[in-house]
């Protein structure tokens, strides 16, 4: 897929403007930063309007109101949220916000318990009846979970035993932070590779006539 030459030049300029912050703060970086913030907001409003509000709310009510009259309720709740910009009736928005928050608490509660807490707890309760390589992994797993939990138990002052156990927990935490840091470096470098790949192969090479 060929890229529009003007678009490539704009993208290259904005990429360099963002990278210029690594040297020092400057007006080009601030321009790119402000432009990104503004465009992101405009894009978000447009995409929600076209992809969610139009097909899921406005079009169904416009084409068959008798069948979709119940959509008036979520539509009204959404409208009520904006009442906060009218000081006299700002309190109305709180009711919509309360329903919104309550819905997501209910949704998230079951999602977390059913999808995260119980399966991950189940994975921690491992059989230690056989003596093989898996048993060693399971034992390490259990020691790790137990010692990290002891480290994060702040309700009682640590004694000589719990202090040693929490010390083991710190080691497990440090290893996991190290792994997370390694992955983070890989992720950030991937973004740099993507940008430099664009600058070199889609901007510099075509500009210099290199195929």
């Amino acid at each position: 897929m060929s890229l529009d030459p003007l678009g490539v030049w704009i993208a290259a300029f904005l990429t360099l403007a963002c990278l210029s912050f690594l040297y020092k703060d400057n007006p080009f970086f601030r321009f790119a930063e402000s432009l990104f913030a503004g465009i992101s907001l405009g894009y978000y409003i447009g995409i929600v309007l076209n992809q969610t509000l139009m097909p899921n709310l406005i079009e169904p009510m416009r084409t068959d109101f008798a069948l979709n009259w119940d959509l008036v309720v979520p539509g009204l709740l959404g409208f009520m949220l904006y009442m906060r910009f009218v000081p006299k009736v700002g309190w109305v928005s709180r009711y919509a916000l309360a329903i919104y928050v309550t819905y997501y608490i209910g949704l998230d509660f079951t999602r977390r318990i059913h999808g995260e807490v119980l399966p991950l707890m189940g994975r921690t309760m491992l059989p230690l009846t056989r003596l093989d390589a898996h048993t060693l992994v399971s034992a390490t797993f259990i020691v790790g979970v137990f010692s990290v939990l002891v480290y994060f138990f702040f309700s009682k002052e640590q004694g000589p035993v719990t202090r040693r156990v929490s010390r083991v927990g710190i080691w497990f935490l440090m290893i996991s932070f190290g792994a997370a840091f390694g992955f983070t470096v890989m992720g950030r470098v991937a973004l740099l590779i993507g940008r430099l790949n664009f600058l070199i192969l889609s901007w510099i090479y075509p500009t210099l006539g290199i195929s």
Binding site: M1, L22, Y23, S40, Y43, Y44, I47, V48, Q51, T52, P55, N56, E59, P60, Y103, Y104, L107, D108, T110, R111, R112, H114, G115, E116, P119, L120, G122, R123, S176, A179, A180, F183, T184, V185, M186, G187, R188, V189, A190, L191, L192, I193, G194, R195, L196, N197, I200, L201
Partner: protein
């Protein structure tokens, strides 16, 4: 040696930035072609897709934006290539607000052009973006048309042939989410745990450590961890499909395999910097201690 240690400790960080820039740019200009080894989680993902039957429905969700496109684009596109070669029916969505739909549209157009015999609406469909991620997924468990009454261009699902044979996400054989942030987690905890649909995730490298817990608990069928995972997946595709081996060898587009040259070089450079920095720090601490003792 003391001079070297002092220089290391007072080195302007911009020299390091420049060094990183040169280290990443060099393999792009002069590709090395370093080998990639595959991991168990990527092989599990590949095998799971391989074992699906032609005509099965699979769901591909673009749950990322341009900020992680170099990691997620290659995996999403490689997944589409495997599905199209296996004649699986692909339903595409985007649940990430900032750019997910634009990336989905671009990738679908690019891959569909590689498979001109496939028809939109019969072999694949793009349902577009919907706001609310977790709430959308909950609705997908009841009926797809409740969440997505139309495709991304406004055509009602009732007029799309391949959507006639499917009512809710229970009938989908696999969800593949190329994800940044929390949306990938929602597919596991909302769709897999509550509806039972198998999930494979392609997270960014930053998110990958979190998903190993879900992989170990059996809630994921496989995982592609960042650019490395995508490069592994491309390698498995090249080995299984000769036509893709030719494509990945000759394409001028960006692939994860190409990106891995830069990753290997820069990781070596970072390791050297870590060793040098620690050496300089330990030397300076020892010197200070000696000074205090003496």
């Amino acid at each position: 040696m003391a001079g070297f240690v002092d220089r290391m400790l007072s080195l302007d960080r911009r020299w390091i930035f420049l060094f990183v820039l040169v280290s990443v740019a060099t393999p792009i200009i002069l590709p090395i072609g370093l080998p990639v080894t595959t991991s168990g989680s990527t092989r599990a993902a590949f095998e799971y897709i391989e074992n699906l039957k032609p005509g099965d429905y699979v769901w591909l969700s673009f749950d990322y934006g341009p900020s992680s496109a170099p990691e997620n684009d290659p995996m999403a596109e490689a997944f589409m290539r495997q599905c199209f070669l296996k004649r699986l029916r692909v339903i595409v969505t985007a649940l990430y607000p900032l750019g997910g739909l634009g990336l989905a549209n671009t990738s679908v157009a690019r891959i569909a052009a590689e498979f001109p015999d496939l028809k939109y609406g019969e072999d694949y469909v793009n349902l577009g973006y919907k706001d609310g991620a977790a709430a959308v997924m909950r609705r997908l468990g009841q009926d797809i048309s409740g969440a997505f009454p139309t495709d991304q261009s406004g055509t009602p699902l009732s007029r799309i042939p391949m959507m006639q044979g499917i009512h809710d996400i229970r009938q989908v054989k696999l969800v593949f989410t190329a994800a940044t942030g929390l949306i990938g987690e929602y597919w596991i905890t909302q769709v897999h745990s509550q509806v039972g649909t198998p999930v494979i995730i392609g997270p960014t490298a930053v998110s990958a450590p979190k998903y190993y817990a879900f992989l170990n608990s059996g809630q994921l069928e496989g995982m592609l961890s960042g650019m490395k995972g995508a490069a592994e997946y491309e390698k498995l595709l090249r080995a299984a499909y000769p036509q893709l081996a030719t494509f990945y060898r000759t394409t001028k587009g960006f692939t994860a395999t190409k990106g891995m040259d830069g990753q290997t070089v820069i990781h070596t450079v970072i390791l050297v910097f870590i060793l040098l920095g620690n050496y300089a720090y330990i030397r300076s601490r020892t010197a200070k201690k000696r000074g205090a003792d003496g």
